[in-house]
Structure formats: structure tokens, C-alpha cells
């Protein structure tokens, strides 16, 4: 490409003094003024200000610019600001190049003003080299189907389905169990307000059944998935044989959690009288009158907290669950109140590491203590032990309030307050290709700012499939996923970044190296002029570029980051190094 004919504008920002206190911005503007293609090189106090943007638009029009470089802050802050400005001025937004002088020069090199300035000049030169090879690109517009597939019919999935239905979207809910309702469907009293879990699920299910635009499939699983954001094609297998084909614009994955199953011998698990909290709840929720276990009255109950959570790596535990499961302290202290409410006099001991009953649940913890439940803190590295003796179960614990003195508690029942672990579902995970965190839960894009979106556009996550959550938190995340899915589908179309891979069909010899390298399944084999070549499904491609270096024929480039552009950028910023 003949770069000499390009007309590039370069604008260097002071950022008040954020940049100009350390980088000699006037020198940068002067040093790059003679670069090939540059017709304007100026400074602005704040390039993001309204007036500076207007002046740059005037420059674009008067100088008939066809490339733009702005050297200012991080692209995370203002790339979209300047892309919009470029379009308003009449330049294609992908012919604008953002250079980061603030984070990468002034803030990084406060002790070396000359060095910061030289680095700034080199980076701006690289930006100019890239702009000189830029081509106009058009966003990929994809029509969306106004239907959503919700995977999992627990609290999160059912609540999400109702909210999507309220928006007027059609909803399919797929549940792999024979009965909908998820983990909570048989639960009794739940904190903090004592509503029955089973009643809440019943109400949601009754409401779902009245909705004409919700279709619930139980005993069903996804067996095939193809397509992309706005237009997924999914096949479900129902009851083991019948199949259903669906077309949906988005998916919400709300597959929930599994309760932690202690290992044999872990805190005495396996001994008669040692049970997990979920097992105990199943048994106790249906009982009335004084508490009994195996037909015998229960006088002393010992709860042990943090079972299966906040584990440390050891020989006995090579793959620890390092996280806190959030709900267990709340569930354990709430169970203390449920036991106190029963007739009979019962002593309860709660052995904990730290109590985390945040928000409303703090009052439950306080009430449990006031009503006589004894809480004893044990050290992280000195956990209680549970043994079977001739007189029954005995729990030994070193009480921190007694300075670590060991105490023996005879127990009729030991309840292990277990946490949540990721639910295993390999078929689904292989189909969806969703990344998981190091804990094994589904991963969001950004833990704070984009908590329900995934790297697969159009696929959202909700509830405890993402991380341990209480019911309220699960519903919150389900509704967040609904608003993201709804926002996407109500518009009718979606514009995608065109910075994706493209195949040179002349060079391509179809060897499938790119197909194997692509983590998003965005490469397909196709036929072009009688020859087999690779095809990039643009709506699936993330422009990540894994396919580029593995291609033995140099047939793939990523738009906006072509080999030619990257080489030119390296040449431009390393000119002195190379010539010296």
C-alpha cells in the first residue's frame, strides 16, 4: 500500500498535567510531524473535552483526513469516545488508532522525563504506522431471534424465565432432573425470613405453568448446539429418546451447585450420627416434636462449619476448595433457631473458623447466641476431631476463647455444615465451551463490572453455577442475566466488532491447524472455487488470533491487527534501535 498518499491527523493530549508533567508533549507532536502520511500534528490540553473534539472534527474535514491517531489515556477510558468522534467527523471508526501515553509513559516513568518522552514518540510513530495501513471496516450486524433458552429450572432459572416472559420474549427452560425446582425444591424453613423453600419453588412453578410463552422441558438435556449470538440452534433430548430442535437468540446457564460431599472419615463422616447439613435438613424438615435421630432423642448436637470450604492444600486434600461458600454460616445459624424452636431441651455447639453472617443474617446469629447456642472458634490449622467411643460420638475441639484448651463434647448428632461445589455436567460444558474459574465454577467476563456475561456472546450465567450464592443473590444474578439477554434481543439486532480473522482463500490449503487452535469454534471447512479452505464464522470469532501463527501458509490475518500493520508498527517504534 502506498502510505505516502494517506492523510493522517495526530493529536497529543496533555491530560491536564497527567501526561505533560512528565512527557514533553510539544516535542512529541513536533517529532512525529514529518512521519509518512502525517498532515496535522497538534497538542490539546484535554483531547476528550467537547471543544477539543470539535476542533479535531474540523481538522478531519478541512484537511480531508483518512486516518487518525490520538495519544492520550488508556483505550479502556476513551477509545469509544474517539471512535464516535471519528465517525462524526466522517472517518471510519476503525481508521482511528489509540495510543496510551498516560499509563504507558508518564505514569510509568515519573523518574525519567526524557525516557518517557522518547518512548512516547516511539509509540506515536507506531500508531501512525498502523493508521497508515488501516482500512475502513463495517460492524457485523446480526439479526436476533427473540427467544431465550434457560438451562436449569432451579430458583435462578425459573425466576429468569418469568422475567423474560414479562418482557414478551419466548422462553424454553430445560431441566435435566425429572422434576423442576432445583436444590431448593424440598427445603423447609430458610433464613432470614423463614419462608419455606418448597413454597417459593411451588409459587414460581405455578406461575411458569400459566405462561403461554414459557415451555418447560424436564428430564431433558442439550445434545447439540450450533450458531452464534442472536441465532443459536439447539437440540434437546427429552426423556432419553425424543428430540426437539430450538432456535434461540440467547441462553442463560443456571445449572446450580452440588452440595459438598465429605470424604470418608472427614470430621468422622461415615460414622453413624455424622451427617451433612443438607442430609440433616432433609430428615429434620419432615419431623415434628422433639428432635430425634434414628428413632433416638437428641440431646447434644455439634455443628462443624467450613466443611469443604476454605480448604488448604495438603497431602489429604490435593485439590482444595479455597473459596468461602457464603451461604453455609447463614444456613447453620438459621438451623440453630429452627432447633431452638422445637420442643425439648437440646444443647447445641457450633464449632466455626469465622462466622460470616452478613446483612440480615447477622441478627439470626445474634439470636442464636442469645437463645443458648454455644459458638466455639477453632484454629484454621487445628480442626476438631470426631470419634466413636463406647459412650457414643465424641467431638474434641480446642476453644480459642479458652486459649486453645481442648474440650470434649459428647454428641448424639454431628452436623457438618458443608459448602457448595461446582456441578459436574461434562456434556453441557463441552457443548457450551464456557470457561471455568480455578474453583471450577462458570467464569464471568469481569467479576465486578460484567458479572453475568461470558466470553461466548449471547450466553449468560446466573445463580450458583457461577459461584456460591444465597437464594437472594442467585435471583439477583438471574435478573441481571435477564436484563442483559433482554437488552440484546429486544433491539432485534446486534453489532459486533469487525476485528476478526479473515482467510486468504488463495493461500489456504486447508490443513485444519486453525480449526484446532481456535478456542471458540469459529472455524469451519468450506469449499471455494472447487478447493477446500477455512471459513471464519465472523460472529463467533473474537479476533483473538490463535489461528494466525499456526497457519503454515500465512493465510490468516486479523482485521485491524494484520501482520503488515504489526510489522510496520515494530519497525516504526524501533527505528533508532535498528539503525544503531
Amino acid at each position: 500500500m502506498n502510505t505516502g498518499k494517506r492523510r493522517i491527523g495526530v493529536f497529543i493530549c496533555h491530560c491536564g498535567g497527567n501526561i505533560s508533567d512528565y512527557v514533553d508533549v510539544a516535542r512529541v507532536a513536533e517529532a512525529v510531524a514529518e512521519e509518512p502520511g502525517v498532515v496535522v500534528s497538534k497538542n490539546h490540553m484535554f483531547t476528550c473535552s467537547d471543544s477539543a473534539q470539535q476542533e479535531m472534527i474540523d481538522d478531519i474535514r478541512e484537511q480531508k483526513l483518512d486516518g487518525l491517531v490520538i495519544a492520550s489515556c488508556s483505550p479502556k477510558l476513551h477509545m469509544f469516545t474517539f471512535r464516535g468522534m471519528a465517525e462524526r467527523g466522517g472517518i471510519n471508526q476503525y481508521q482511528y488508532v489509540h495510543v496510551n501515553l498516560r499509563e504507558q509513559c508518564s505514569w510509568a516513568h515519573t523518574n525519567d522525563k526524557t525516557g518517557a518522552t522518547e518512548k512516547g514518540i516511539a509509540l506515536v510513530r507506531a500508531g501512525i504506522a498502523k493508521a497508515a495501513l488501516s482500512t475502513p471496516l463495517t460492524a457485523l450486524r446480526v439479526d436476533t431471534t427473540p427467544k431465550v433458552l434457560v438451562i436449569g429450572a432451579g430458583i435462578s432459572g425459573l425466576r429468569a424465565a418469568l422475567a423474560l416472559s414479562d418482557m414478551g420474549l419466548s422462553v424454553f427452560v430445560v431441566e435435566n432432573q425429572k422434576e423442576a425446582g432445583g436444590a431448593v425444591k424440598n427445603w423447609g424453613r430458610m433464613g432470614p425470613d423463614n419462608q419455606l423453600g418448597r413454597d417459593i419453588v411451588r409459587k414460581l412453578l405455578d406461575e411458569v405453568n400459566t405462561r403461554e410463552n414459557i415451555m418447560l422441558y424436564t428430564d431433558a438435556e442439550m445434545v447439540e448446539k450450533s450458531g452464534y449470538i442472536g441465532d443459536f440452534k439447539v437440540t434437546l433430548r427429552i426423556g432419553g429418546n425424543e428430540t426437539v430442535n430450538l432456535q434461540v437468540g440467547a441462553m442463560i446457564v443456571a445449572t446450580g451447585f452440588d452440595p459438598y460431599e465429605p470424604k470418608e472419615g472427614e470430621f468422622g463422616y461415615g460414622l453413624d450420627g455424622v451427617v451433612t447439613l443438607p442430609q440433616f435438613r432433609d430428615a429434620a424438615d419432615g419431623q415434628e416434636g422433639p428432635l430425634e435421630y434414628n428413632g433416638k432423642p437428641v440431646k447434644n448436637v455439634v455443628f462443624i462449619y467450613c466443611v469443604g470450604s476454605r480448604q488448604k492444600k495438603s497431602a489429604a486434600c490435593p485439590a482444595p476448595n479455597a473459596y468461602c461458600s457464603r451461604y453455609c454460616c447463614n444456613a447453620g445459624t438459621h438451623m440453630a433457631l429452627c432447633l431452638e424452636d422445637r420442643p425439648g431441651d437440646l444443647n447445641q455447639y457450633h464449632l466455626y473458623r469465622d462466622i460470616r453472617t452478613y446483612g440480615h443474617n447477622e441478627t439470626i446469629y445474634e439470636e442464636a447466641r442469645n437463645r443458648g447456642a454455644v459458638f466455639m472458634k477453632y484454629a484454621d490449622d487445628d480442626a476438631p476431631t470426631v470419634e466413636k467411643t463406647a459412650d457414643g460420638l465424641v467431638v474434641k475441639v480446642k476453644d480459642q476463647l479458652l486459649g486453645g484448651e481442648e474440650v470434649e463434647i459428647p454428641a448424639d448428632l454431628v452436623i457438618l455444615v458443608t459448602g457448595m461445589v461446582p456441578r459436574k455436567n461434562e456434556t453441557l460444558m463441552n457443548l457450551l465451551k464456557l470457561p471455568v474459574s480455578k474453583d471450577g465454577f462458570l467464569n464471568e467476563i469481569h467479576i465486578k463490572l460484567r458479572p453475568v456475561e461470558t466470553v461466548i456472546d449471547g450466553v449468560f450465567i446466573a445463580g450458583s453455577a457461577q459461584s456460591p450464592k444465597t437464594m437472594a443473590e442467585s435471583v439477583g444474578s438471574a435478573l441481571a442475566a435477564v436484563s442483559k439477554a433482554g437488552g440484546l434481543l429486544m433491539k432485534g439486532y446486534v453489532d459486533l466488532e469487525p476485528l476478526v480473522a479473515k482467510v486468504n482463500t488463495d493461500k489456504c490449503q486447508w490443513c485444519d491447524a486453525c480449526l484446532k487452535a481456535c478456542p471458540y469454534g469459529a472455524i469451519e471447512r468450506t469449499s471455494c472455487d472447487g478447493k477446500e479452505v477455512a471459513l471464519v464464522i465472523q460472529s463467533l470469532c473474537k479476533g483473538e488470533g490463535a489461528c494466525v501463527p499456526v497457519c503454515p501458509y500465512g493465510a490468516i490475518d486479523v482485521e485491524g491487527y494484520t501482520d503488515e500493520q504489526i510489522t510496520a508498527m515494530i519497525d516504526a517504534c524501533s527505528r533508532e534501535v535498528v539503525s544503531a
Binding site: 444443647n347 442469645n370 476453644d399 481442648e406
Partner: protein, 101 residues
């Protein structure tokens, strides 16, 4: 090793008199006590709270030599009524150790 006595634990739980739940183990009670006991009140009450009857019995003489002057309760930042707790203990010991009632 001290062992929980369900009997003491239940007695403590059912009692309106004994209450050390709010104790934050600051030790002001010890600082202001004119008797200078070897056993710290906060430790004694923790034994009681858990139901460690053997430990309580080891300290019977301390429990009976308390002057019930109330300096401790007067100064307790958590408003634990320490003198009432001692009265509860004396009553429990009278009934269970000395068979008085």
C-alpha cells in the same frame, strides 16, 4: 481433658440468671476485683457456658469466696451481670454438689 456435662449445659441454657454471652474477654473484671483470684472470671464463665462441670468444681472455693461486691459488673463494658452469674453457680453447686436445695 475437660468434658461437657449436658446437665450443666442445660441448666445454664435454661437459666435466666446466668448470662455471659456478651462477654468480650477484655479482662476489666479481673483488673478491678479486690480478691485477685487465680481463675479469671471470663475463663470461669466460658467453662460454665460450654458446660465443663469438672472445671467448675475445681474452682468451688473461688466461687464461694467471691465478695459479690459488684465492682466487676459495675465496670463491665458488655454489661454482663457477673455477680448474678456467681449466684447462679453457687445455687447450682449447692444443689448438685452439696445436695442442698
Amino acid at each position: 481433658m475437660p468434658k461437657v456435662s449436658p446437665k450443666l449445659a442445660s441448666a445454664v441454657k435454661c437459666s435466666d440468671e446466668f448470662n455471659a454471652e456478651a462477654c468480650m474477654h477484655c479482662g476489666i473484671c479481673t483488673a478491678v476485683c479486690p480478691m485477685g483470684y487465680e481463675i479469671l472470671p471470663r475463663k470461669l464463665f466460658r467453662y460454665v457456658q460450654i458446660g465443663l462441670e469438672d472445671k467448675v468444681r475445681e474452682h468451688v472455693s473461688d466461687i464461694y469466696s467471691c465478695l459479690l461486691c459488684g465492682m466487676c459488673a459495675e465496670n463491665c463494658p458488655a454489661k454482663v451481670n457477673i455477680a448474678d452469674n456467681v449466684r447462679f453457680l453457687r445455687k447450682y453447686i449447692n444443689e448438685n454438689e452439696f445436695n442442698l436445695s
